[in-house]
């Protein structure tokens, strides 16, 4: 433990240690805030052309306006077409004439016409939002029609039918609060493997934790440069000493690991204080395993390099690769199905799973943690072998 302590003291005196200690926390909080701000400010501009001018079409427009991801403008069809062609709006929705009448009859198809340009990137999303709004309206209308019909059968010619329709409609619309279609919850604790895989596809990071995973991995990698720098100077003498190279490597790695573990703990406290991540001790535990994983992989990269320059380049590339495929920056799995399968193998899955589940016993969490531990156990003998092999 003497070497560990001396190395620890040596590291604490280096300004670069403090830089690498603070970088993951500062960068993830800074970029995380920026990302979250941009996310809330980012809206899709759409245009509604209301040809019906009815109370129902107005209700649909108000419903769309209440969506946070959309900027809704109303204008005549000619102006809307012009804006679409100029690329100023993503898509145009035309609420056709007799929209209210048809809707009250329970018809859904062909009531709204959609214009999109080839450059439209969000038409699908907007269509989904609009469709959900229409479904709400038609469901309520259908329910109200049914109530009026039943009322008519039971209490012939008693009371005002349109009033009854409106009351039934309003009551049904109230049942959509808070918008159940938009808040489908994951089924937690499923025993079926197939279900678990489906859950993986929908796991999302807090941007803070995602960014932290990238910057921590990068920090751990750069922190491992000592193994490159000491290779041709310190290592031969260590190898000739009583303690030997494996003991030196493990104690130095432990000193570096402890610093990064404190960093992870500090980051966790900051994230919790800012209330930007979900989950408790399970998330921290997985963060700790992630740090161990990153430290060992960093050391593995280091022992396969003889010069610092190429090592830093590899370290940056590897960290970026892990971040892109692991979903640190964005859910990579949503791009292509093969990337989704690939991203499940990356250690960030454990962090995302821990944040979503907050249970260490959840298969998604412990399987990923086990995989990271396995990589660490396999890598360590390889590190010792490679570091010593140079001199043979």
């Amino acid at each position: 433990m003497g070497i560990y302590y001396e190395k620890w003291k040596q590291l604490m005196r280096k300004p670069v240690t403090w830089l690498l200690f603070l970088m993951p926390i500062a960068a993830s909080v800074g970029f995380g805030m920026l990302f979250t701000k941009q996310q809330t400010e980012l809206t899709i501009p759409i245009v509604i052309v209301d040809e019906d001018q009815s109370s129902t079409s107005d209700a649909v427009i108000q419903g769309l306006k209440s969506q946070t991801g959309l900027t809704v403008k109303e204008m005549p069809a000619s102006a809307a077409k012009k804006q679409l062609l100029q690329g100023e709006v993503d898509s145009v929705f035309i609420i056709k004439k007799h929209f209210q009448t048809e809707l009250r009859k329970g018809k859904r198809d062909g009531l709204i016409e959609l214009w999109t340009s080839p450059s439209s990137v969000a038409a699908g999303i907007v269509r989904e939002i609009a469709a959900s709004e229409i479904i709400k309206q038609t469901s309520a209308a259908k329910a109200a029609n049914k109530v009026v019909s039943l009322y008519k059968q039971k209490y012939e010619d008693q009371g005002e039918r349109s009033e009854i329709w409106q009351q039934a409609y309003d009551y049904t619309m109230d049942q959509w609060q808070p918008e159940p279609l938009m808040t489908i919850q994951y089924k937690i604790g499923s025993d079926k493997r197939q279900d678990t895989n489906k859950e993986k596809a929908t796991l999302l990071f807090s941007p803070y934790l995602g960014l932290w995973s990238f910057f921590t991995m990068l920090s751990c990698f750069i922190f491992s440069d000592w193994a490159v720098k000491e290779r041709w100077t310190i290592f031969p003498r260590i190898r000739a000493s009583s303690i030997g190279l494996p003991a030196y490597l493990s104690q130095c790695a432990a000193a570096h690991l402890i610093i990064q573990l404190i960093q992870a703990g500090f980051a966790f406290v900051v994230f919790r204080y800012l209330n930007v991540i979900n989950g408790g001790i399970v998330v921290f535990s997985v963060m700790a395993v992630f740090v161990l994983f990153s430290t060992v992989i960093g050391l593995l990269l280091a022992v396969f390099h003889t010069h610092a320059g190429p090592f830093y380049l590899t370290a940056l590339s590897t960290a970026l690769l892990f971040a892109l495929f692991g979903g640190s920056f964005f859910p990579a799995g949503e791009l292509f199905s093969f990337i989704q399968k690939l991203s499940e193998m990356f250690p960030q899955t454990a962090l995302a799973a821990a944040e979503n589940k907050d249970r260490l016993t959840d298969p998604l969490v412990w399987e990923s943690v086990f995989a990271m531990a396995a990589v660490v156990l396999i890598s360590w003998p390889l590190i010792v072998w490679k570091a010593g092999r140079e001199y043979d």
């Binding site: 310190i234 031969p236 003498r237 000493s241 009583s242 303690i243 043979d392």
Partner: protein
């Protein structure tokens, strides 16, 4: 003290050393000479247990370095050619750090005394990066003496330093030999060879062309029809001439 028999080293299927046979007695300063790439550092790194031999045996104080590596390492003090120190640390911190690498721990006072012995006066709290090349070499040597080894393996310990420091290091090496330490010393400096070494070995292409004293080298040269006016010329001829047609001496 050191017995080397039929020692060989291959690297990527290419022979780098051997077969080498050598015997070095206690208290001897054995100078290893030879052109660059002759195998001097390879031989020293095998003796230091840094790299392992491909064939042959090395016995140090009755212990096989391959089979009893852990028992042999406390006997060896190794000074690699590159300065094996942490530049951003002070002399004291370096000594304390290296002091952790040995079995028999030394007190801070003992370590400071060792630094005094290698003429590092008043540099105890100085950062290594601020030391001169000569002082770094002295500290490099001091580190190898922390555990009081019986065998010292020195790979060009005075390369690229000022005359004053070189003189002080050489004096210390002679003192260590007088104290009974066995020293194998790689150098390209003719003065060091003539003044320090009790015996020399000339390596070329991984094999010894000659081992013995300088007087024996002179006699051998005469046998081959060369005349040398002084020791410097003897060494010059030894390094220059190709003895590969002749049976190497052991």
């Amino acid at each position: 003290m050191i017995n080397i028999s039929r020692l060989e080293k291959f690297y990527r299927k290419k022979k780098r050393l051997g077969p080498v046979n050598l015997h070095v007695d206690k208290g001897e300063i054995f100078g290893l000479l030879g052109p660059n790439g002759a195998g001097k550092s390879t031989l020293l790194s095998i003796l230091a247990t840094v790299s392992s031999p491909s064939a042959g045996k090395v016995i140090m104080k009755g212990k096989d370095i391959t089979e009893e590596t852990k028992a042999v390492r406390p006997l060896i003090g190794y000074v690699p050619q590159d300065i094996a120190l942490w530049e951003e640390m002070t002399v004291k911190e370096n000594m304390l750090f290296w002091g952790k690498m040995v079995k028999r721990k030394k007190s801070e006072e003992q370590l400071e005394n060792l630094c005094q012995a290698v003429q590092l006066h008043g540099k105890w709290d100085e950062k290594v990066s601020r030391l001169s090349g000569g002082m770094k070499r002295k500290l490099n040597l001091a580190v190898s003496l922390i555990h009081d080894p019986e065998i010292l393996l020195l790979d060009e310990p005075t390369v690229g330093i000022d005359l004053q420091s070189k003189f002080e290091i050489n004096e210390l090496i002679q003192k260590l030999a007088r104290d009974g330490k066995t020293i194998i010393y790689i150098t390209h400096d003719i003065n060091e060879i003539t003044q320090l070494c009790t015996r020399i070995g000339v390596l070329k292409n991984g094999i010894f062309l000659f081992t013995g004293t300088l007087a024996e080298a002179g006699a051998r040269l005469q046998q081959h029809g060369y005349t040398a006016k002084n020791e410097t010329e003897i060494i010059f001829h030894l390094l220059k001439q190709d003895y590969s047609d002749h049976e190497p001496t052991f």
